[in-house]
């Protein structure tokens, strides 16, 4: 849809940068926010530079703001690529790079909902370890004991590692218990970035018995042993070929800048994820989905009598995740 010229004029009167941003961000209010974030980023960055002894003039600040606004508004660069990161969860700051999907707020929302739900109601987190339990652990069964004392989370198609790190942040194991999170992705670029993010955000889960591991593997062709995990979470590519090419469904910025690999996909992923869950007898699966239609398809195709399934809506009212658990 074309921008109303009156809006462009109004924005231009306030600041040329706002008008520059409009083609991509559409509303003036939103352009205001983005301009503020861009300015904050530039000031911080140049102050850092000045602190290192480099010469920085006011002119540099304005020039850099202009350049970023141009790239954002005219070229359609995602803001997260320009600023380098996206805040996620309570304290995570996820680095974003070309070639890896940018974390979405919907993912953050259901991720927090699910993680908080587990932490509040799963017996692993709610049952307090009694002192007498320690004495019963002999050397022989120490290893199996350790397995019982570890809550395993498998994050498939992890991308930036945002969901894996979110669960590591939110699921704080009680004393003498552990949380093990494994993130798997096909793309080596993504795994490299995920490891970087783990290092940058280690603060969020250090001091607890939490470990996060990232592995490169194509889940469609590799066999993954899943029997040690208590939940599988995934944000697999779920945009169909047809939708990928219609500008009604997908925005220009996403198609031009974000990787096809992380977007184009569908039922084959869900089939595989549920197959893995069945093989390893993983009690619960949560996956992000496109909409209600897809939810119905997945339930029909992948969920059999042994499973119970439901949907999670996001704040925009769209069915955003499928949650399924093994019916004992």
């Amino acid at each position: 849809m074309r921008l109303p010229p009156a809006r462009v004029v109004r924005a231009w009167r306030e600041s040329p940068n706002l008008a520059q941003l409009l083609p991509e961000v559409r509303s003036i209010a939103n352009a205001h926010s983005e301009l503020r974030w861009i300015s904050e980023y530039v000031r911080e960055k140049l102050t850092d530079r000045a602190a290192k002894g480099m010469k920085v003039s006011d002119n540099d600040v304005q020039r850099m703001i202009n350049r970023l606004c141009y790239l954002r508004g005219q070229k359609g660069f995602p803001l997260q690529y320009l600023l380098g990161s996206q805040p996620f969860g309570d304290s995570l700051d996820i680095q974003c790079r070309r070639g890896v999907l940018i974390p979405r707020w919907e993912t953050e929302e259901w991720g927090i909902k699910v993680a908080q739900g587990i932490r509040r109601s799963h017996p692993f987190f709610t049952e307090v370890q009694r002192d007498s339990d320690y004495t019963q652990v002999s050397v022989d069964n120490a290893i199996s004991e350790h397995e019982i004392q570890t809550f395993g989370v498998l994050d498939l198609c992890t991308g930036t590692g945002c969901l894996a790190l979110l669960f590591a942040e939110q699921l704080r194991p009680p004393k003498a218990k552990f949380v093990y999170v494994e993130g798997v992705d096909k793309s080596p670029t993504a795994i490299e970035l995920a490891r970087l993010n783990r290092g940058n955000n280690a603060r969020a889960f250090e001091g607890y018995g939490t470990a996060v591991v990232f592995t490169t593997a194509d889940i469609l062709s590799f066999d993954i042993t899943t029997d040690q995990f208590d939940i599988i979470i995934a944000n697999p590519p779920y945009i169909s070929e047809e939708r990928y090419h219609s500008s009604q469904h997908i925005t220009r910025s996403v198609r031009n800048f974000e990787p096809r690999l992380a977007l184009l996909g569908g039922p084959e992923f869900y089939r595989r994820i549920f197959q893995l869950a069945r093989e390893g007898e993983v009690p619960a699966v949560v996956c992000e989905i496109a909409d209600e239609e897809q939810l119905r398809e997945i339930v029909e195709e992948c969920v059999d009598d042994e499973w119970v399934a439901g949907g999670i809506r996001d704040s925009a009212g769209v069915a955003r995740a499928i949650i399924a658990w093994h019916n004992p």
Binding site: E14, S33, E34, Q86, E109, V254, A290
Partner: protein, 407 residues
């Protein structure tokens, strides 16, 4: 004889002649007059203090009988101070009575002792004044949110752009005050107006426990008189900005959804300024604005500062909770006040509580009448403490007055 009168008059002004003095045992029956009020407790206050002491004894007993309980122990230490003051008070009052009897007696033997007795009386009165003050302070109920951190909200009042600039100045003043105090704070939300250096809304979170107690009398209308930067003819304008102080019930750090969970499902409507369409992987929106509407009261909170929607939501819930707590407390106080006598003065929310006059380099607090000719010191936070101290003293006195009226 003249000396004699000088002693009696302040105690019982109606009694003038030695004849009367000898017939009435004055010291036992005197009414609490204006001058006595500062070294004698009102009988009802005394009764209240005594009942608190018995309560303390009970607490002490339960602590020894049923084991240690930190909350009870804290309460007991608080009452201990009151009890020891009360004990000293009860010890001094008979002494004063005896001395008074001695001073007013017509017995020729005691005449020579009168001088010494008078001197002693002054001493005892001095002591009593101090002790009564302490007891009264202990009797003033502590504010239920006194130990909490707080939120400060700034909004321009009348005066257009100048008011918005002043709101910014006020916010800067408290920020430098907090920096000087080395209190942790964070700017939760700033809504700047374009073109000028003003704000239409600003919210500060002061994370220091007890900050609410220190800053709670800052809430109200702050008036400024100066030549605004927007004024071209050099005229002095009067404009105003409002400050709202709220108790912060959630720390906002450790558990981000604690505030959200304190509401029943369906009690709060969450509006996300959403992007239309499929969402998820299909779009990458940066819109993160969140608006909460508390349905029973109609209070709304919008938050859009952070790039993370989750954080905006958590902050909005925190602010909503603080506003509701403040509202609830204000209603409770108003209700209590209605049921009490009409003379009770209000210590909070009085209009136009302070004037910042730039041409005269003056700050005046209208409640306690305190004036300070150090505007710059005030605005950069360095001498704000002096002002806060005098307001706190005034508030304490008001509370004590209320105590006497209501008892």
């Amino acid at each position: 004889m003249s000396m004699f009168r000088a002693v009696v008059r302040p105690l019982a002004p109606s009694i003038r002649t030695p004849f009367l003095v000898s017939t009435f045992p004055l010291s036992r029956n005197f009414r609490v007059g204006l001058e006595e009020a500062d070294y004698r407790l009102h009988p009802q206050l005394l009764a209240k203090a005594q009942s608190l002491r018995t309560e303390r004894d009970k607490l002490l007993k339960s602590l020894t009988d049923h084991g240690y309980d930190p909350a009870k122990a804290l309460e007991q230490t608080r009452l201990d101070a009151l009890a020891s003051s009360l004990a000293r008070y009860e010890q001094f009052v008979p002494t004063l009575d005896d001395l008074h009897k001695l001073a007013v007696s017509q017995d020729p033997e005691s005449l020579e002792l009168r001088d010494a007795a008078l001197e002693e009386m002054e001493d005892v009165k001095q002591q009593l004044r101090y002790i009564t003050g302490k007891i009264k302070k202990a009797l003033v109920p502590t504010h239920p949110f006194a130990s909490y951190p707080c939120l400060l909200e700034f909004r321009p009042g009348v005066g257009g752009a100048e008011a918005a600039i002043f709101a910014r100045d006020l916010m800067d003043m408290y920020i430098s005050y907090l920096t000087l105090k080395k209190w942790r704070y964070s700017i939760l939300h700033v809504n700047e107006i374009s073109g000028a250096d003003g704000i239409t809304e600003g919210i500060l979170s002061v994370e220091e426990p007890g900050a609410y107690e220190r800053l709670r009398f800052e809430g109200g209308i702050h008036r400024v008189q100066r030549v605004p930067t927007t004024e071209s003819k050099g005229r002095v304008h009067t404009s105003a900005a409002a400050v709202v102080v709220l108790p912060q019930l959630d720390s906002g750090g450790e558990d981000s959804t604690a505030a959200e969970r304190s509401f029943a499902p369906g009690e709060v409507r969450i509006d996300i300024m959403r992007a239309r369409g499929a969402g998820g992987q299909h779009v990458n929106t940066t819109e993160s604005a969140v608006r909460l509407t508390h349905i029973p009261t109609g209070i709304t909170v919008s938050m859009q500062d952070n790039r993370s929607q989750h954080k905006n939501k958590a902050k909005a819930f925190m602010i909503l909770r603080a506003r509701l707590a403040e509202k609830e407390y204000a209603e409770q106080v108003a209700h209590e006040r209605q049921s009490r006598s009409a003379q009770v003065t209000s210590t909070d929310r009085s209009d136009k509580l302070r004037t910042y006059n730039f041409p005269q380099n003056r700050v005046t607090d209208h409640r306690c009448g305190f004036t300070m000719y150090d505007l710059n010191g005030c605005m950069d936070g360095s001498s704000l403490d002096t002002l806060l101290d005098s307001v706190a003293d005034w508030a304490q006195e008001e509370e004590m007055k209320n105590l006497e009226i209501t008892e």
